[in-house]
């Protein structure tokens, strides 16, 4: 499943990074401690976090995740949106809590 297909099914709000929407997703990683995510998220995973500051873009870019979902209505900084756009990293917002999102993703058969 591609990022854009998953985003539509999960009712995510697109914030930035429309260039990367056709990337295929291969799993999910959850985490807010950036070094932890850095060492463990896998290429083309969906990364779900509540961190909305610009360093998220660097971690997303370096791990090669397929997209980032900032969940639970957490604030997304303008710098993060700008950086995600510049780097082509799809960035989404969701008001759902992380557990609900994961349940839906499991239901889609991605993870």
């Amino acid at each position: 499943m591609t990022v854009s297909e998953a985003a539509a099914k999960l009712n995510l709000r697109p914030i930035a990074g429309s260039k990367g929407l056709e990337t295929e997703i291969n799993g999910v990683y959850l985490g807010d401690l950036l070094s932890w995510v850095m060492g463990r998220a896998k290429e083309r995973n969906i990364w779900i976090t509540i961190q909305g500051h610009v360093n998220v873009a660097a971690v997303a870019l370096l791990t090669g995740v397929s997209c980032v979902i900032v969940a639970e209505g957490a604030e997304i900084g303008g710098e993060l949106a700008a950086k995600a756009d510049a780097e082509g990293i799809p960035l989404f917002a969701s008001d759902m809590d992380v557990f609900t999102l994961v349940k839906l993703i499991v239901g889609l058969g991605i993870a």
Binding site: W36, M38, G39, A57, A58, L61, L62
Partner: protein
């Protein structure tokens, strides 16, 4: 190929730009994605440490057909006990830095895990030099 990056300490929120830039260069050179990932993780952790703890520094990268060698030098406070700093979960980062999702004590362990060679030299009050080598 040689690359040089100046890492600014005042730009905490921009940390990772040198690592991102190196990743792009390695991609253009056709380096495999597994190897790029190792290099990117190790260098990002070192770069973040430089920004958080040492007010920035300089990074020199040397790429040849066998390996990527990265040398990060700062003139920060130094690391009093390198063995302790290498321990997973140990961190001296401030609460402010932790709120941003850093300071999990994974920086040096992540570097060690991903580098084929890691050397950390530090003198309290003078600074720290980190050498990372990843074989191609």
């Amino acid at each position: 190929m040689r690359l040089h990056y100046d890492v600014s300490g005042g730009e905490f929120l921009r940390a990772g730009e040198a690592s991102s830039s190196l990743k792009k260069v390695l991609k253009q050179l056709g380096v495999s994605s597994d190897v790029i990932r190792k290099i990117a993780i190790a260098m990002y952790e070192a770069e973040i440490n430089m920004v958080i703890h040492a007010n920035g520094g300089v990074v020199d990268v040397d790429i040849d057909s066998e390996a990527v060698r990265i040398k990060l030098e700062d003139t920060g406070p130094g690391i009093p006990d390198i063995a302790l700093a290498m321990t997973e979960g140990y961190s001296t980062a401030s609460d402010e830095v932790r709120d941003l999702g850093f300071g999990a004590g994974m920086g040096l362990p992540n570097m060690k895990k991903n580098a084929d060679f890691l050397n950390v030299m530090s003198e309290v009050g003078k600074g720290t030099t980190v050498e990372i080598k990843v074989n191609l």
